[in-house]
């Protein structure tokens, strides 16, 4: 039985009567293939990437597992439609906080059509892509059983500047204080989620090292999904803070250089997250020295 995913934060949702992704109970994610070059590009990416010996194992884990393509009943009721069958990376998360960050100051590539370039160019300038090297495309932050998720609207997210991004990255790892202003989040979970040898920051840095070296592909308009399970964290369990790359409809072969566009944006995101973490460390040091 396929159903509409509960925790989708970006992209077209299936719930509005249109073609969108589906999930099953065995942990698979069914992404409808677009009937154009983008669909072809994404299938080609998954087919070649998952078996590419030049991509090391510790890097493969940042990509959803690929189980092939399958014809399944489309979410819009239009009948059978080809879908990519992928790993549903958040299937085991009970109350996931998720952020989708589209990486790169430009989302277009030189070989695309003039129209497409112009469309992307305007979007990149209006959003934080040009200024920060990335833009948040969607997010949900679990607050509490009573308050559920904080999930700002797309229009609000699109207007995010540097200060908003900084705030949201801190709010993403904060405990929920309904009586206090959300302008000063406590970053209570920053060390557990962003920090540590297997935290999100360490994972992003591992990815960065690979991007400093790989000249295989250029990942235009690709997103980094960051997520963790707050319920598990609050119960003293492993929050499983994770990083996955998603959306490969605009991946192109490299023409002999690294993907400087992706790398620059990734470094910028790393810097923002480092600063969120540093705020906490400073507070801890101050607290210690006051004691």
């Amino acid at each position: 039985m396929l159903k509409v995913p509960v925790h989708q934060v970006a992209g077209h949702p299936a719930s509005e009567g249109q073609l969108g992704p589906l999930v099953d109970e065995s942990g698979c994610f069914y992404k409808p293939l677009q009937n154009n070059e983008r669909g072809n590009t994404e299938v080609a990416f998954y087919m070649s990437f998952s078996s590419n010996p030049r991509v090391p194992k510790h890097i493969q884990r940042f990509f959803p597992k690929f189980y092939g393509t399958r014809l399944v009943e489309a979410s819009d009721g239009s009948g059978l439609h080809p879908h990519l069958v992928l790993e549903d990376v958040i299937s085991n998360y009970v109350k996931p906080s998720i952020m989708d960050v589209k990486i790169g100051s430009r989302t277009w590539y030189a070989e695309a059509s003039e129209d497409y370039i112009q469309k992307c160019f305007e979007k990149d300038k209006k959003s934080s892509s040009v200024s920060l090297g990335f833009r948040i495309s969607g997010l949900q932050v679990y607050r509490s059983p009573e308050s559920g998720y904080w999930k700002p609207e797309k229009k609000q997210i699109q207007k995010f500047g540097a200060d908003d991004v900084s705030l949201v990255l801190r709010r993403f790892v904060s405990s929920y204080q309904p009586t206090e202003s959300d302008r000063d989040p406590d970053c209570a979970f920053a060390s557990s989620i962003y920090g540590g040898s297997s935290g999100i920051l360490a994972q992003l840095r591992e990815l960065k090292s690979w991007f400093e070296d790989q000249t295989i592909l250029q990942f235009y308009s690709c997103s980094i999904l960051m997520f963790y399970d707050k319920e598990s964290l609050l119960n003293g369990g492993d929050p499983r803070g994770a990083v996955k790359l998603v959306d490969f409809a605009h991946v192109v072969e490299s023409k002999g250089s690294i993907d400087h566009n992706f790398l620059g944006g990734l470094c910028s995101l790393i810097k923002f997250i480092s600063e969120a973490l540093a705020t906490v460390n400073e507070c801890t040091i101050e607290a210690c020295s006051t004691d």
Copy 2:
């Protein structure tokens, strides 16, 4: 006595009867101030940067020393004109090989005029800026007393793609073999110039570390000048391989992020140079194992 510099590889030369830079015999470089915002931007940059306590000493050394501004006789005969007085970074080099590399996949910033953005946008797409994250703006490679310098024309340089850039970076550190094809340079000096703990690659990596962290400025349309003295190298002396940043007419204050545009391009350049160096190391290893 001011004269036209002999070793200028990029920008408008004074020699064509137009306003251009001058040098004196005490090691100063006089750069005419443009009569517009660019001139103001560059003066403001040098004034604040050279005394900015947030910029560490080991980073200041990558920038030409700044000695103020002075009215001097313009090179185009138009009378007194304000000039920046800077350190002439190659004044002590006898036979300098020089490469001017404009860093960043885009040379425009969002606050610039639509016309300016469009002009830069087209230039960036036509050159290697968009594809590689940088473009070579000028170069001269010293060959031998008989053959002098190899100094390709601007039009030829503008067409450089990934393969040309790779070739030129190897040719830059090769001995001159007049009888052989230049398509297969020997990289005889790659280890001395690019390699080692104080070589060009180490210097670029030091600069990279700073760019991963600094959120003070964004260096649009700025160049990295790489140079060394081949005469000195051939005589067994120190070739003084060096890296300097130049051209700050489009530097803007950061809006809270790192300069991901510059950093991405710098990482791309580092990768190209690493590959040039790796070729040599492989050859050396092969030679050793054959012996």
